[in-house]
Subunit: 239 residues, 2 copies
């Protein structure tokens, strides 16, 4: 694709997916879409990207992906896959090089259960900033988030491994990472102060090539989230 600029309602649908590629419908700052971007990059998969204006979605996008969510994948054969955990598992199965999910059923189930637990963490990244914006006392919410981080920290302590699935990065690390990358933007970095193993994990993650390539600078993130909080997200910020 020649542009990273987002496609909005009224835009002309992009052409067909190139033969040897897979297409990712994304939004540059979306943590859920970043999960798929991490997997695509970690596995060295050839893909093109169509960014979507999530405030003003094109009709052609809603026809392809009925929930209108990113990430959505499309193959040259026109097969469409959406929902971040489904897209990531699909990519891991279709492109078997560098498998990210364990091949044994219990190992895979464990990663999925960890993801279920983590799905109770992500809402705090919306509730706390929203609460602050409305002038509410968010100390209770912050304490709950710290408690969840303590559990993740204990998990690493018990496992004695660098990452959540062992000593190398596996799927669950990539599924959780996008929110940790955004701790600073949401002024939540202090929540890691009492969880040294989790802090070390996040430092190890920062060394990963797929993490490096999918990350924006903090200045860019902050500038984007400012427009987001003001209700006029600039999806093309910095382009």
């Amino acid at each position: 694709m020649t542009t990273e600029k987002c496609f909005a309602k009224g835009s002309v649908a992009p052409g067909p997916v190139p033969k040897d590629h897979i297409r990712l419908y994304s939004m540059r700052f979306c943590p859920f879409a970043q999960r798929a971007r991490l997997v695509l990059n970690a596995k060295g998969i050839k893909y093109d990207t169509i960014n979507i204006n999530l405030k003003d979605k094109p009709d052609w996008f809603l026809e392809k992906s009925p929930f209108g969510l990113v990430p959505t994948l499309e193959t040259p054969a026109g097969e469409v896959v959406y929902e971040s955990p489904i897209t990531c598992e699909y990519l891991d199965e279709v492109y078997p090089e560098k498998r990210l999910l364990p091949s044994n059923p219990f190992g895979k189930a464990q990663q999925k259960m960890m993801l279920e637990h983590f799905s109770k963490v992500t809402p705090y990244f919306y509730k706390i900033p929203t609460g602050r914006k409305n002038g509410e006392d968010v100390s209770g919410l912050e304490a709950e988030l710290k408690e969840k981080f303590t559990k993740l920290n204990e998990d690493l302590v018990n496992k004695k491994t660098k990452f959540f699935g062992g000593d190398s990065i596996t799927m669950i690390d990539y599924m959780m990472w996008p929110w940790f990358e955004r701790l600073e933007i949401f002024e939540l970095k202090h929540c890691l102060d009492h969880t040294p193993e989790l802090k070390k994990w996040s430092e190890h993650m920062l060394e990963d090539p797929a993490v490096k390539i999918t990350m924006h600078s903090m200045d860019t993130y902050k500038a984007f989230y400012k427009t987001y909080v003001e209700g006029k997200p600039n999806f093309d910020y910095g382009l």
Copy 2:
């Protein structure tokens, strides 16, 4: 196991899982637990059942399964798996006879996307009865549920198949079935009146041996749900 009666707080934990079995922690009337019971029966897996008092859960159960939900599986090696879609996929992978999920990645992703859509249907089975109980007008909610059934009906019409994954039962049928079995109890059977293919699907499902074996009589269901609505669920009703 010698008893189907539920284990409550204060109960003595059951003994170890027999060597050639898998154990299911369940509740006899729970639609989510029924998903696992359907898969266990369809695949002919040897299992024992420990029913849990979901109003007054044993500590030993909460230690095994931190969300305290059924279904939960336990193997003789002490491996524990919870969350109904995770348990069902785990069973399908560990016991490869009569595979219920497609082996190709896109087919599997399609079933998981269908399940995501269906996860927007199940809340109506709680919202509508609760609304009625509170004397609210639930016609809007019923119209929304009918609309979702119309979409499922269209899906069958487009596919021209008896079941959602083809002409034989696959995982997605079992994942959806428990709520259709309960339409009558929740006085929602009329919601199928304008969706003839979906109605036919539910008639085909009723012929399936795993469906027959996991089902209670309507009288039993109604009697249980009466105690449930009154806030004092009798998990051992009929034993």
